[in-house]
């Protein structure tokens, strides 16, 4: 509820967070997973690079790591249209 001023707890289950991050970047930042990319080329951006792209987009500190602030943004309700690309 909006009265929860101090926000998310500090740490959560690592796997769950990683899954959240990967799903978020796949859906909104064109992260390709191995399964999806039939052509292995060196241009596939890693999760870290995509995470930096997302952090820059939201004006967060660009760490490339799923820190608390980044996870907090990823958990916010939002529009389903991707932030980059189509």
């Amino acid at each position: 509820s909006s009265s929860g001023f101090p926000v998310a707890p500090e740490t959560e289950d690592e796997d769950k967070n990683n899954q959240l991050v990967e799903n978020y970047l796949q859906h909104f930042y064109n992260l390709e997973t191995d399964k999806q990319s039939r052509f292995k080329n060196k241009n596939i951006k890693t999760v870290t690079e995509k995470l930096k792209e997302m952090q820059a987009f939201f004006g967060l500190k660009v760490t490339g790591k799923p820190d608390v602030d980044t996870l907090e943004v990823m958990k916010k309700p939002r529009c389903g249209v991707p932030d980059v690309g189509q």
Partner: protein, 368 residues
């Protein structure tokens, strides 16, 4: 603002829309009104017009869908993705889908249909997500009281880049989002709250912990939907864990983080005279339990314990706070000092020696 890749746009200015189905969460008349208002957000600032049709294929078809609804973009149940829309074009182009699994409303609880519809229509018209946190086209949901909603200048610039200026003789303008490290930044009000500092500006506030470097900008309405924008003065009564927020001749009280009641009280209940129309700034002296209200070049002093105004006021600010002129924007006490904000400058005042000991930029707390 960001235009959608390839700059897709409607070649006609007069577009049609159709509401294909309804959500059981709202009565249909409220759905119609919310969606009509959402289209008006864009028609007010561009040459576009939108006409509703009731059957057949409209340019923009609007519907409530659940889960996988055959457009390769399944919804995900409550929260998460709230809605999506397709860029201008034939067929599904321009169409808007709302996730029926959300709770849709016309107020602040659940998800406000007007606000989400207005955002999705930005996509229907050729805009992508903006990185401006104050823009309607910012990707995450944040509730704004519909009566206080104004399309931001960023969104206006975006839609006019695609379709040209509005046909109105006077071009519409919108609010811009304040920039944290702007050297010209001024504040409406500043207060402490449970060890943090809140800096109010328009419909926003910055939240800052004195020992941390991060500072983040939020809509006031995101945390307190019933608070207005444009807070003019604020102070914390640390003892009672309450923050008082003033606008015009009214004030609201936060207890902890929660608004105590949604309806404001009158500043005249505090003992201020009727000729005081608004308060410029206020701060509470934790040691003496006295609260200082600054109005123009005068100030009043209120006793929090007896809950009454002290006798012998108003007094002239300059007499008791040498170096502090008039028209104070904001004030707060932190440690030994009182900080007065006047325009882009901040005066650090030492009440023990009754002197300004330092002058800084107003946003010096933001570690720019």
């Amino acid at each position: 603002y960001v235009l959608t890749d390839g700059n897709p746009k409607w070649e006609r200015k007069n577009l049609t829309y159709r509401i294909v189905n309804y959500t059981p969460d709202m009565n249909p008349a409220d759905v119609d009104k919310a969606i009509q208002k959402a289209f008006k957000v864009w028609s007010d600032v561009s040459p576009l017009t939108f006409k509703r049709i009731y059957d057949g294929n409209a340019d923009i078809m609007m519907s409530f869908e659940t889960g996988d609804h055959r457009d390769n973009s399944p919804f995900d149940g409550p929260n998460g993705f709230l809605a999506h829309a397709f860029q201008p074009g034939n067929g599904i182009g321009g169409d808007v889908h709302f996730d029926e699994a959300e709770y849709w409303t016309k107020v602040s609880n659940g998800y406000n249909l007007f606000f989400v519809a207005a955002h999705e229509l930005g996509h229907s018209l050729g805009l992508s997500h903006s990185t401006d946190p104050g823009a309607l086209m910012y990707p995450t949901y944040s509730y704004i009281e519909p009566n206080e909603f104004h399309l931001s200048q960023d969104d206006i610039n975006g839609i006019q880049t695609v379709y040209g200026p509005s046909d109105n003789s006077v071009q519409p303008t919108g609010p811009t989002t304040p920039v944290t490290c702007d050297s010209k930044l001024t504040f409406d009000a500043v207060a402490s709250m449970r060890g943090e500092l809140l800096f109010f500006k328009g419909r926003y506030f910055w939240r800052k912990h004195p020992q941390m470097t991060e500072v983040d900008l939020n809509f006031i309405s995101l945390f307190w939907p019933n608070l207005p924008s444009g807070i003019q003065a604020a102070y914390e009564n640390v003892e009672r864990d309450q923050v008082f927020l003033f606008k015009e001749n009214k004030y609201w009280v936060l207890s902890g983080y929660d608004l105590v009641y949604s309806h404001p009280k009158s500043i005249y209940d505090l003992g201020l005279p009727k000729n005081v129309k608004r308060i410029n700034a206020a701060f509470n002296d934790e040691n003496s339990g006295k609260t200082y209200f600054f109005v123009g070049n005068k100030y009043w002093r209120y006793d929090e314990n007896s809950r009454s105004m002290d006798q012998g006021y108003p007094k002239k600010i300059i007499n008791d706070f040498p170096g502090i002129g008039k028209k104070i924007d904001a004030a707060f006490q932190y440690g030994r000092y009182i900080y007065f904000f006047i325009g882009t400058r901040q005066f650090q005042f030492d009440p023990n020696v009754k002197r300004v000991v330092s002058v800084m930029k107003s946003n010096s707390w933001f570690n720019c």
